[in-house]
């Protein structure tokens, strides 16, 4: 019985497909490159996964609720320069941390309000704020990178032993967000709203508030991502995070979240982000052209989602 349900899990859940791919790539790299299993390399992989993973947690909630957030890449840039400039201006790095997350939260809240109160489609709303946030970052810095090397930046560059601090943050946030999504009323409402918003509303769920909440969370996590990315480079470039929204959305979809809303798991999203990180690492270690890396990520997304919809169609018959 137990064995059968494991087989069923593997056959029916996209998380499982992606987990299997992750294991295969991991084992393959272990044999293909002597550098792969070194502490230094794994630590680098962990760093690459962290920001995408953290931002993907928020993005996953938005997509499960039936929306999409294209503004996260720009929020990363805006938050990174905010962290640097606020800590420089006040001399207090802790205010830099607060500022980065708060600016992300503000953009996210704005997205939520535009989507629910003015009823602008989420794609359009966040396409707009993508442009606005990036412009604001460039305007505030006049296009110049900002030094960011105080202790707040340590969250991005620091390690405890060999483990990057940002990776520890990813692990902790994954646990928190997974708990939120499965065990709290607000988390379950996210699924209900994404599954059938009209029915959710008539069942007494405050749909608008739920949507504003997920956009605000997504913005806040993107703000944190910007802080970490700026800190990792000890230099906040207003162009940080350019195109990140695509990696983040790819990780979410790869992890089994349905773009149509209502379905997906937080664990899957982190597995998706990890697979993308490992693939990137593989190209570096195996010395293959970086251009192939871009193509492969695209192929993997199509493959994983394609396998899933083939499976689903068989169920529907």
């Amino acid at each position: 019985m137990e064995g059968r349900s494991v087989v069923r899990f593997l056959r029916t859940r996209r998380e499982a497909t992606v987990l299997a791919m992750l294991v295969i790539v991991f084992l393959g790299l272990t044999f293909a490159s002597e550098f792969f299993l070194t502490g230094r390399n794994l630590s680098n992989v962990a760093r690459q996964i962290s920001v995408v993973g953290i931002v993907a947690l928020g993005q996953a909630l938005v997509i499960i609720a039936g929306g999409i957030d294209l503004s996260v890449g720009s929020v990363i840039g805006l938050a990174a320069v905010t962290a640097a400039m606020v800590s420089a201006a006040t001399g207090m790095p802790s205010l830099g941390i607060v500022g980065a997350i708060a600016i992300g939260m503000a953009v996210g809240f704005l997205n939520g309000v535009l989507v629910t109160r003015i009823r602008i489609n989420p794609f359009i709303t966040t396409l707009g704020t993508l442009s606005i946030a990036r412009g604001a970052a460039l305007l505030a810095t006049n296009g110049n990178p900002q030094r960011f090397d105080n202790w707040a930046a340590w969250l991005g560059y620091g390690r405890i032993g060999e483990v990057p601090v940002q990776f520890l943050l990813l692990v902790a946030l994954t646990l928190v967000v997974a708990f939120f999504a499965t065990r709290t009323r607000w988390g379950r409402n996210v699924y209900a709203v994404g599954d059938n918003a009209r029915a959710a509303r008539l069942a007494g769920i405050d749909v608008a508030r739920t949507r504003i909440m997920v956009f605000t969370l997504s913005g806040s996590l993107a703000g944190l991502g910007g802080l970490l990315l700026g800190g990792m480079l000890t230099n906040s470039n207003p162009n940080l995070g350019l195109g990140y929204e695509l990696d983040v959305i790819a990780a979410v979809i790869l992890g089994g979240v349905a773009l149509s809303g209502g379905r997906g798991s937080i664990g899957g999203v982190v597995i998706g982000a990890a697979l993308m990180g490992l693939l990137r690492n593989a190209f570096v270690l195996l010395n293959v052209s970086g251009y192939w890396q871009t193509i492969t990520i695209g192929l993997v997304v199509i493959l994983a989602v394609g396998a899933d919809s083939l499976n689903r169609r068989r169920e529907d018959d």
Binding site: Y191, N196, A199
Partner: protein, 496 residues
């Protein structure tokens, strides 16, 4: 008489689930066959096989003298078998005439649409189905449901339909519109078109069908001429037992029951109202009216979904709710019309669908243990049939989904129950279960508003009857002393 369609031994399984166990059926040209059965009896699967939407595992289909295996609906349509689904499939953004000739638009090789010629070709088709008043250049999405249905039938005729499958065609029609549809069906019949007619309304079957075929558990349990059967016999065939609607004692509001809700001349400022009524504990207020009379709008005002522009609602439990969220909190539970679009959360489990409304009043953390226990209890009380509470609700039959939505209402422990067409599209057995549950709940002191377009239901269940027409209240009286004609004539009052 040789059969137009002859079906032998059709079988179909999904995974290990045998849905059709060997169906035999003959239909002659010009014959109208009513296909009846509870939800899950296999009606949809069977007609989907006939129309090429599904493959079959075993069996033969002979149509117009030729052995056929349709692997796509296109092939079935070309052969003259046309299936008109309950959810209409016109393209709303195209014009009526474009819909009628969808795909080729009679453009010939140029690819350019000749609007005049297309309109001219459309008119006779529309006239044949009694829809000559519809301008073929109108956008299909602007038409009423009944008009869209006629356009679909006209479209079927343009493709030389020889067998027309109508799946619950009257579900959202007024009696008047349904009568017009039946006239069209008779006209088609006289031209030799065979019709398979699926409906949950037995009265219609007796009006229109020549033969009644009842399916149960994937097999044909009876196949009789309409003259040789009766309502009771059909219900017994469908359920395997007799039906209990008539056996219920009349509902009476207990003397001195406390007032739960008072609506004082409420209106939405957009054609509905003023409507006044009172609702007491243990009362079942049956609300009847034709489509468009304002029944759903009234419920929307009660549950805070639709703004009240004039008049006021007073609740025993406090102020009038400003949103559905607030309504549930103040003890109103709503079972909306339209199970799929407004009711279920399809991918969530049955259990979550049951507890979702109740949860909104609780704390932040989900109490899994007590939710499971509650869902289990309601599940057993209402007799929901499903593999387990973790199963996605979309995989349940319509009747069981409806019961789960009922359970959602009960889980919230309401003092007022608002039911909008709770038996719409559910099978006879589930209907009986729902009637009994409503009566039991009222007996326990719940106040119920029961909205329905089925008159027998209202008359059997309600303790008080309210009739709406054109957004106004045209009748409001205790059930006792009312006859069918009183209610109907109030529903058909002309607009002032």
């Amino acid at each position: 008489m040789t059969a137009l369609l002859s079906v032998r031994g059709i079988e179909k399984s999904f995974d290990r689930n045998r849905v059709l166990t060997g169906i035999d059926l003959d239909i002659a040209a010009g014959e109208v066959v009513a296909l009846l059965g509870e939800n899950g009896a296999g009606k949809s699967t069977f007609v989907n096989i006939l129309s090429g939407a599904l493959g079959r595992d075993a069996g033969r289909v002979v149509f117009a003298g030729a052995e056929t295996v349709f692997s796509t609906t296109r092939e079935a349509i070309d052969a003259g078998i046309i299936h008109i689904h309950q959810e209409l499939s016109l393209i709303g953004s195209l014009s009526v005439m474009e819909n009628l000739f969808i795909g080729d638009y009679r453009t010939g090789r140029s690819g350019i649409i000749d609007r005049k010629a297309l309109a001219a070709a459309s008119r006779p088709l529309l006239e044949r189905v009694g829809a000559g008043h519809i301008d073929p250049r109108r956008t299909a999405g602007e038409l009423s449901t009944a008009e869209q249905q006629l356009v679909e039938i006209a479209k079927a005729l343009s493709r030389n339909a020889r067998l027309l499958i109508l799946d619950e065609p009257t579900a959202s029609l007024t009696p008047h519109e349904a009568a017009a549809l039946f006239a069209v069906v008779r006209e088609l019949k006289s031209r030799g078109v065979a019709v398979i007619f699926i409906s949950h309304r037995l009265e219609e079957v007796f009006q229109i069908a020549d033969r009644v075929v009842v399916l149960r558990d994937g097999g044909v349990v009876s196949d009789r001429p309409v003259a040789a059967t009766s309502r009771e016999a059909i219900i017994a065939d469908m359920t395997g037992r007799a039906f209990a609607l008539g056996a219920m004692p009349p509902a009476i509001v207990p003397e001195g029951a406390p007032l739960r809700l008072a609506a004082e001349a409420i209106g939405d400022g957009a054609g509905i109202g003023p409507i006044s009524f009172e609702l007491r504990a243990g009362e079942i207020l049956g609300v009847f009216g034709l489509v468009g009379a304002g029944r759903t709008e009234l419920l929307e005002m009660l549950c805070g979904k639709r703004a009240i522009k004039s008049g006021a609602i007073r609740l025993a439990s406090g102020a009038a709710p400003a949103s559905p969220t607030a309504a549930w909190r103040s003890g109103l539970a709503l079972l909306p019309e339209g199970r799929k679009t407004n009711g279920i959360l399809p991918n969530l489990s049955v259990e979550e669908n049951i507890v979702v409304a109740r949860r909104q009043a609780g704390g932040g953390l989900v109490a899994r243990g007590s939710e499971r226990a509650l869902a289990d209890r309601l599940w057993r009380t209402l007799g929901i049939v499903a593999a387990g509470p973790g199963q996605p609700i979309r995989s349940l039959s319509g009747g069981n989904q409806q019961k789960a939505l009922f359970a959602r209402c009960l889980a919230a422990d309401p003092s007022i129950l608002l039911l909008d067409e709770p038996t719409h599209g559910v099978d006879v057995r589930t209907k009986g279960d729902i009637y009994r549950t409503v009566r039991d709940l009222a007996g326990e002191g719940l106040a119920v508003v029961f909205v329905s377009s089925e008159l027998p239901e209202i008359l059997a269940l309600a303790s008080t009857v309210m009739v709406l027409a054109h957004g106004r209240r045209t009748l409001y009286a205790p059930r006792a002393g009312l006859g069918e004609n009183d209610v109907l004539s109030a529903a058909f009052v002309e607009a002032a």
